[in-house]
Symmetry: D2
Subunit: 338 residues, 4 copies
C-alpha cells in the first residue's frame, strides 16, 4: 500500500499517518517528492486499514499495490487448476462443453437434449430447476422434480450434471441430485450462499456478476476457496453496458485477464450474453479463440415452446454444428475439445 | 404486445404467428405496411409468450407496450403510498432522514450516533449487523450482538431502526430486533430473500441494484407486493458506470422515473454513491431537489477508526449541518422534513 | 509517478527501470517491500514517460500521483474563475440561466423565446444554427441565416448569445455574430477545433463528452487554456450508461468533482440529459442543489412542431415556472440567480 | 412507426395524432386494445416526425420499426461490399491485416515496421501523422513530414497505406499522400469531417465511437455513403464500460450485429481495445473467430521508446507470430488471410 499525501501536507499530518500505519503493525518508508510526500506501507501481513488511512487528514489517496486475494491468485499458485466433475476434466488445454435447456421442463425434453449433447461430444449436461426470474409472474422452474429428471437423464446418457443453486434452502437437495453446483450472475456476491455452497465440497461453476469487475469475481471465488474448496470454474457471461444490440456484452478480454491473475479455469456462456440465437455461434468461437477452456450453451428440442429464454436456445442440429466449429477453432488455438 | 415481421415476410409465417398468438388466448390485429406486416396482440390478461413469439420464423421483433408489473404501478394505484415505521411516515411530501454508522461496532458508538441522529431531527436509526463484503478478509459485522445493540439504542433515543438482511438464515432474528428490514444492492434480485422478507410483514427498504434498470427495480418490489406486503420504500444508491471520480453514479433522474411509474416512496443514499465524504452533502441535496422523499446517510463518531467505509461516513457535526441544509432545500421544493 | 515492479523482479530489471527514469531527467527513490520493489519518480517537470516505463520488463504497473493538467487545476489557482459574457457573469455564487430553442427556426420563433427568456430573468440566449445530427436525413440547421437571427434577437431583447460551433469552417462567421461559443459533447475531444476556438478569444462553453471522465473533460479545457484563453465554462450534460429510462444519465456527482479539481465554473444542461420534458425540472433543481453555477435549458414556443428535440423543449410558461423554482433552490444552497 | 397512446387516452388526443400523421403524408391504422390505442404509421417515405409525434398530448411512446439508414443497410443491398485499396481487397471471406506503429516517428522506424508487415503477409501499412491526444502536453505527431515518410515506405515495401485524418485542414494533404483515410473513434460523429472526407473519393476506415451504438455507427457510415462514396470499412475498437482491467471493452458481439444490419466490411482493432500487449493476441483471434474481415494491429520496432501507446504495440516477431495464428483461426472459420 502507498499513502499519497496532499501537496504541501503538514509535517504533523505526515507524522500522524506514520503513527497509524505502525499501529497496524506495518513499517513505513517515506519518499519526499518535489511537491508531495508519499509513504510506503511495508509488511507481509494481509492488507488492512486502507479505508482508515484514506480518511486521515491531508491524505490525498491510498493505492493498493498488492492483490486482495491470495488463494485464487496465480502469484501464489502458478499452475492451472483442473476441476474434475465425474469423468469430465475442466481446465488446462482442454475445451469443455456444457449444454442443456435453460429450464428443465419434462423428462422427454431432457432426454432428447441429453442424447443430443452426448452425441455431439459434450461433457456436462446443464438445466435449470429453480429459475431466478426478473418478474414474479414468469415461470419459476420445476424445482425438485426438475432435479430428479436431470439426475436420471444424466445417468442414462452418461453425462455429469450442472444446475444453478439460488438459495441455501434448496442447496442440500440440489447437492444430492447434481454433480456440479452453479452460482448465477445475480448471486455472485451473495456471500452467505457462496460460503454455504463451498462447504458442500462439490465442484462449483461461478458466473461473473453482470456488473462485477474481474477483481471482484476473483474475490467471490476467494470466498469459496477460503472454505477449503478449490474446485471452482469461472464463467464470463456478458456484462451490462450502454449497448442495445445484445442483451449483455460478452467481455472476451476478461478471459486473458482471469488467466493472468488466477489459476482457475475460465469458460464462456455465449447464450446469456447473446440473448439471440444467431449471436451464440460467433460468441462461442470468439470465447474459445480468446482462451476460454469451455463453453456453456443452451439447447432445447423446440425453442418455440420453451418456458424461458426461447430466443437464445439452439436446436440440437445447430448445437451439433456449433460443437464441430468450436472443435476446429479450439485446435487452431492449440487446445482440444475431446 | 406488437409483433413486427421481417420485410417481406411470407404469408405462411404471418399465419403461423397469428395461430400462436391465438393459442395464448389473445386476439390479433393485422397492419399491413408498405414493406412490413405488424401484428397487434390484444387482450386483458397479463403478458405472456413474448419470448416464444420472438423465436418464431420471420419475426423481426416483439415490442411490449404494457408494463410487466401491476401492484407497484401508478397506473393501478395513482395515489402515493405512505410507509409507516413506528412513528415515522415515509412518502408523500415528507422528507425522511435515516442515519447511522455503516457497521454497528459497539454500544458506545451506536449510542453516540443515535443521540446525534435524534438531536438532528432524524427519523430512523440505521446500522449494519451482517456486512456483505467484497473480500472474505474484511470485517463481516457483529451479527446478533449488533442487532441487540441497535435495538437497545433505538429504544433509548426513541428512533425506529433499519438494518440490512443478507440471508434467510438471519432473517428471523433480525425481524425480532429491528423495525424496518433493508434489502441491499447486491440482493435486489435475490428472489428467495425478497419473498421471505416480504412475508415477515415489516416495512422494507429496497435498494436498487447497482446495475438494475428502473423497471427491474420496480419488478423486484413487485415480488414483495405480490406476497401481500405493500410497505416498500425504494432507494436510489448509485449505479455502476465508466465514471472513475466517484464510487457509483447517483442516478437522480431515476427519482422522477420511479415517481412516474410507481406509487412507492423513493429515497436516496448519497453515502454509498459518493464513497467520499465531501460528495455526500451535494448528492443529498441533489436527491431531495429531484424529488426524493428521504435520505439515508452514514454517520460515525470517529470515521478514522471505522471498521468499514470510513471515508464516506460523516461526523455528527457535519451530519447536523447536512440535515439543516436538506431541510432548507426540502422546503424550497415544497416538501417538509419535520 | 510510482513504478511498481512485479513480485520478485530481478535486480537487473530494477536497475534498468532506474536507468530509464534517470534518462528522463528524474531522480529515483527505491522502496524494497517484503514481496515487491517500488520505485518513486521524483522531479518538478511535467510528467513524461509513463507509457515507456510501463512497457519495461518486470514492471507491474505505473501509477500517476500528480495531475496531468495545470492551468485548469485548482491546485494552481485556488480562486474561482468568473467568466464574463457581455453583462452576464458566470461562476462564483451566481446561478446563470442560459435558454433558447434547440434549433433556430425563424425570427418569430427566436423573438418569442428571447422575450420569454428575458422576462424570466435569464442571462444568455441560446440557439442552434449548425446542428450535429446522428442521421444525415435529419434537419441540419439554418446555418448563417440562423446566426443572423439570434444576433438580431439578442440585441433586441438585451441578452448575450451562445451558439454551438461544429467545425472550423463556420468558426469565423459564428464568432462574428455570437457572444459565447459552445463546444458540443461530440466535439469535446476534437482537439483541432478546441485550439482554433480558443484563439478567437471569446468565452467558451465546453460540454462534457457523453463518455468522457471528469479528468478528460478538464484536459479538454486545458487545451483551451493552453492557447491563452481562460474564459471557459464546463457543462455537465449527462453520460452514457446502461440506463434506459432517460436519454443520458445526468452525473450530478461530477459537479463537486469539477469544483474540487478545477477553478472553472460548472453548469448543467438538464434538457439533453433528460430527453423528455417532465424530467427537465427535477434535473435542473438537482444540478443547482449539487452546486452548479448555472443551467442551460431548451425552450420552444411550440415544441410540437420543433424541427429537432421536440420532446425535451419547454414551453415559455413552464420555463418561467422552472426559473422561479431554480431561484428558490439556488437561495437554499447559498447562491443567487439574479 | 407506431404511436402508443397512454392508457385511456381521449378520443380528441387520438384524433389529433391521426391528423398530425396525415400532415406528414403518411396514412394511419388504428388498433384499439383493451386498455390502450395504438396507431400504425404507414408509408414508403423515409421516416420523419418521430420527435414531433412523441411530443403530442397523451402519447406514451413512439416506436420505430424501420431502420433510419438505407444506403448502408443490408436490407437494401444484401451482398457484401468489397472495399479496394490498391491491391488489397477488404471484405467477403478475406481477412485483411493492417499494421504499423501508433505514431510515425522516423523513416527508419517506418521502414523496419513496413518490412515486417510485408514479410508477415500484411495488406496495409498504418501509421499516425496527426495524433489526437487527451493531454495538450503529449506528443502530437510528425504531421506532413510523417505523411511523406509513410508514403515513401509504403511504395518501397509495396503496401498501400492508411492514416487517420483528424480535421479538414489536413485532409487534402493527407489525401495526397495516403491510400485509405481513417476516421478515429473521437471523430465518428464529427459530421463535417465525415462529409468532407467522403468527397475525397478514397476508401475510408471508420472507427466506431467508444460510446456509439451499432446503429449510430451505421448512421455515421450513411453520412459517407450519402455523399456517393461506398468504400467504407467499419472498425470495432472497444467501447467504454465500467470495466477496469482493460482500456476499452472489445465488443465482439458488434461484429455479427454489423454483418446482419449492413453490407459493409467489418474489422477489429485489438490494440486500442486492449491497451496492453498481452491482450492483443487473444482479442485479435476472438475478433476473427466472431467474423471480423480484418484486423488492425500496432507494431513498433522498439515499443519501449515509442512516443505514444508503447504498452500496446507489438514487436515485429510477436506480430509475425500473431499473423500466423490469425491465419489458422481464419481458416478454422472458413475465411482466408492470404
Amino acid at each position: 500500500m502507498i499513502v499519497i499525501m496532499k501537496v504541501n501536507a503538514s509535517q504533523e499530518a505526515i507524522d500522524k499517518v506514520q503513527v497509524e500505519i505502525e499501529k497496524l503493525s506495518y513499517s513505513t518508508h517515506l519518499i519526499e517528492g518535489a511537491t508531495r510526500t508519499v509513504i510506503g506501507v511495508l509488511g507481509k501481513k494481509p492488507l488492512r486499514g486502507k479505508q482508515h488511512l484514506q480518511s486521515l487528514p491531508e491524505v490525498s489517496d491510498v493505492l493498493e499495490i498488492s492483490t486482495p486475494y491470495k488463494l485464487a491468485s496465480r502469484e501464489w499458485k502458478p499452475k492451472d487448476t483442473i476441476v474434475t466433475v465425474g469423468p469430465a476434466r475442466i481446465g488446462g488445454d482442454h475445451v469443455s462443453v456444457m449444454a442443456g435447456p435453460c429450464s428443465i421442463e419434462s423428462y422427454e425434453q431432457m432426454k432428447t437434449v441429453g442424447e443430443a449433447v452426448k452425441a455431439a461430444g459434450g461433457h456436462l449436461l446443464r438445466g435449470g430447476a429453480f429459475k431466478p426470474r426478473t418478474s414474479p409472474y414468469s415461470f419459476q422452474g420445476l424445482g425438485v422434480e426438475g432435479l430428479k429428471i436431470i439426475n436420471q437423464v444424466g445417468k442414462e446418457v452418461g453425462l455429469p450434471t450442472v444446475v444453478e443453486v439460488t438459495d441455501t434452502e434448496t442447496l442440500d437437495v440440489t447437492t444430492e441430485y447434481v454433480d456440479m453446483l452453479q452460482i448465477g450472475t445475480r448471486n455472485m456476491q451473495n456471500f452467505t450462499l457462496l460460503k454455504a455452497i463451498a462447504r458442500q465440497g462439490k465442484p462449483i461453476l461461478l458466473k461473473r456478476g453482470m456488473s462485477a469487475t474481474v477483481k471482484e469475481t476473483i474475490l467471490a471465488a476467494e470466498y469459496i476457496l477460503n472454505e477449503g474448496n478449490d474446485q471452482v470454474v469461472l464463467c464470463e457471461r456478458g456484462i451490462r453496458t450502454f449497448v442495445d444490440h445484445t442483451r449483455n456484452t460478452l467481455d472476451v478480454s476478461a478471459i486473458p485477464a482471469f488467466h493472468r491473475l488466477s489459476h482457475l479455469p475460465v469458460i464462456v456462456d455465449p447464450s446469456h450474453a447473446a440473448g439471440k440465437r444467431h449471436k451464440v455461434l460467433p460468441l462461442a468461437l470468439a470465447g474459445v479463440a480468446a482462451g476460454a477452456q469451455g463453453i456453456m450453451v443452451e439447447v432445447h428440442p423446440n425453442p418455440e415452446v420453451a418456458l424461458s429464454d426461447g430466443p437464445q436456445q439452439l436446436v440440437p442440429e445447430d448445437f451439433l454444428d456449433l460443437v464441430e466449429r468450436v472443435r476446429v477453432v479450439a485446435k487452431a488455438v492449440g487446445k482440444e475439445l475431446d
